[in-house]
Amino acid sequence: MSWMRFLHRKRSDSELQDEIDTFLTEETADNEARGMSPDEARRQARLKFGNPQKVRESLWMQNTPQRLAGIARDIKYAFRTLSRTPGFSIIAIVVMALCLGAATSLFTVVRSVLLRPLPFRDPARLVTVYEHFRGGELSYHPVAPADFYDWRSKTHGFEDMAVWRYAGYNLTGVRNELPESVPAVAGSSNLFSLLGVQPALGRDFTEADDQRGSAVVMLTWSVFERRFAGNTKIVGGQIHLDGKPYKVAGVLPSWFKYPDDSIQLWVPYKSDASPEMLQHHDWHGSHVVARLRPDVSLASAIAQVGAVQYQNHLQYPHDPVAEDVVSRSLNEDLAGDVKKPLTLMLSAAGCMLLIGCLNVANLLVARGAARQKEVAIRSALGAQRATLMRGQIAESVLICAAGGVGGILLALGATRWLAKTWKDLPTAQSIHMDGSVIAPACALMFAAALIAGLLPALSTTGKSMLKALETSGRTGSSSVARTALRKSLLTAEIGITVVLLLAAGLLLKSFMELRAANMGCVVDNTLTLQYNLPGKKYDTPEKSNAFNEALLARVRAMPGLRGAALGTTVPGTGYWGTDEFTVKEHPPLKAGEHLPDALTRWVDPGYFSALGIPLVSGRFFASDERIERSYKVIVSRRLVQQYFAGEDPIGKHLHVPGRAHDGAPNLMDWEIVGVVGDTLYQVGKEPKATMYFPILEGRGGATLVVHTATDPLQFSVPLQKQIASLDPELPVSDVLTMNQIIGASLVNASLSATLVLAFAILSLILASVGLYGVLSYLTTQRTSELGIRMALGAQRDQLLQLMLLDGLGPALFGLGLGLVGGVAATRIFQSMLFGTKPLDPVVLAGVIGTLLAVAVLACLVPAWRASRLDPMQALRTE
């Protein structure tokens, strides 16, 4: 009701004016009837009515809720005050916009990635199950298919369990479209129904599809749109994978991006797996998703699976079969690696927001001081404390509201940028801002406004404010408390800044360590590209070798190349496969002892010299060590150190159960012919023992690496032309320089280091502005005191020292607090560091040095100004 009145108050005012007119006319008419002259009649009518303005005012007030009017007045007043000092206001608003924007955007990512439920049916009951080798640290080990089938048939805690593994195909067109190698997933037929996903078009996989040799495929929405132009006729039609026709069963919905958005195709799990592979308990490469029964606890369901797995472990004591299983929620499984950096960045943004608030609070305290007398007079005239505080808080509310609007706009862009730049962010949920993020952002904004406004408001409207009237003299005593408040705000600000600087310093140092890590091979001026010879066309080892050798010969003949090499996995591109082995000449392992394992790679004879990997002893492969003569292996230095301590490994044999010789399944012994230097399979990881087998045993998939004399990227087209001239249908993928590969694996480290550093620098600037502000204020406050000191004979440099120390006090105190807090905080993210410890002396010294330098600079200007005061002028100043 009162709102209606409020909204209609303009109309009711104009109605009132009409009514007043009516009254005056009626009264004039009455008066004339009584016999007055028209002028007198009008005069008397007006006299009788009184002041029409007053009537209008009292109706207007009656129609206006008083509290609202008060707030409107406060805001109007605050707006005027702020626009009187546009510099201050703009800085404060920009600061708040940056702080709120960063916090909102990181919160958006956190909410999308960590907090929001997955877009699947009843996602809280979805878990992933991994194998776990006891003894080591907690690891989530991929699952062997045979283990999975045992779990599924022998346990009852889950409604259903599904399995999938990564796969890849060459997608070729029916009508001469460009070949393309596409990432795919092979999943069991129950996976989609377990997740609760319906195909957007066509049908789901059936039990009958999930058989060896079945040629059925499901498209993801992205490949359906991109490659098949969204043509629904493709459903039920055929596409060619690795040269083989596959029937398209259906198309997945556009939002479905599990396990990540690079996946283009889904095939049934068993379609290209041999029965032997499916019966292996040591073919660890699959992922298991399970849906928990509603009436069963996760712990008991997992305990059942664990018991089955332990039986498997006992059954195969000599195979790498895990003793136990571990599980985590599907959500956590997807978020896995980003949880820690994300939490760190969110905390950093939170710290920055706090510093922003403290800074605005600090600036407002200074303004409050200037308005001391005004506040005192208003309260002497009867203003209540609440009213005065409301007036003060209105300013910080205005600043934060403007900053908040800017911050939300900023966050829109920043979130999009983060989602694009951050490689590991799970993409199963889309990351975007919506009402559920903006609402907390607004709450945050008002919390910030309260923090920034309440402190100064409390301090300027305290009981002592009436003293301001008395102390128009020279003592300035009432400002002592306020100065103390500003100093403690500043101490907190500097403390938090130091924590941020420490975190940023450590992340930056570990990023640089990563950047500088020695790969063990040539990195600069190298270009890699991948191809995969389809098994249908290259059906014998000889055909594959012929292609590989012809390619190498052609490439090596190209001008401007220093070397070319073929390998399955080049350094820096990841873990890929390992194989277990024993040394034939060593005594057999005790039962239950783990088999040693090493990374497996296949290389051509010229690989090591082309990539600059040094030969430690022995020799490289000879070019005739191929196919049936290829029972030779080269090992890395790390393998020799681990398993041949004090022995000469050359001439010894590795027994590798997973690598039986072609056509001779009982022959598994490989003679060691050489030892080469270590390379890193991934930046930031320790080098691992590696076995190199000859690629000329007939492998079809390879990475071509060329070492060029000049910019390697200019060779990418000529190299692809060489491949096309050998086989025009062969697709080439991942044309990247080695530096790009390494850079891509460092993107996340660089992102967190850069962001936290940006937050820290901004905080440092804010803190130094605060320091400068406080000291300038102090100088003004103490002008007359300084004048007296000078009159009594104090030297200028003594005054400089006095003021400098006064300002550096809170800086030093904050530094101490920050170091203590920082050391505690950095322990939490120790696992994100590489080659750096939380108490890194270089970083510590750097942080302390930077902060002190900035603090001295910020204090120097006002202190210098204080020491240059003209004593006569200073004494006269009030």
Binding site: T22, A29, F49, V55, S58
Partner: protein
């Protein structure tokens, strides 16, 4: 005269609403008529202050005790007429019975023989 009306103000404050409602029992009226009727029936003892009459009318309308419409006055001027609503009639009954109780009680205290008027 002015001073006199100031004194009345206090008393009028709570009763103005009631008197307006009572006046409207006699028929729809605009502001000027209402003021005139009140003055006349009180034998010019009560002088309605316009500063409170119009806000009071708007308040009563807001509470739905009177409704309003635009019509023509006796002198053919556009005027806003007020009409008593059913709700207003009930309110008038409530207020006037309370008023009678009050004046009777005050009369008794003041020792007047005809307390209830």
């Amino acid at each position: 005269m002015r001073k006199n009306s100031e004194q009345q103000n206090e008393m009028l404050k709570g009763t103005l609403d009631m008197m307006i409602l009572r006046t409207l029992v006699g028929g729809d009226a605009h502001g000027h008529t209402i003021a005139k009727v009140i003055e006349r029936t009180s034998e010019d003892v009560l002088e309605v202050e316009q500063g409170s009459l119009y806000p009071a009318l708007h308040r009563l309308e807001d509470r739905k005790w009177v409704s309003s419409y635009w019509g023509a006055s006796e002198n053919n001027r556009k005027a806003k007429f007020y009409r008593l609503t059913a709700e207003g009639r009930k309110q008038l009954l409530r207020q006037s019975s309370r008023w009678r109780q009050m004046t009777r009680a005050i009369g008794l205290v003041m020792g007047e023989e005809s307390g209830a008027q």
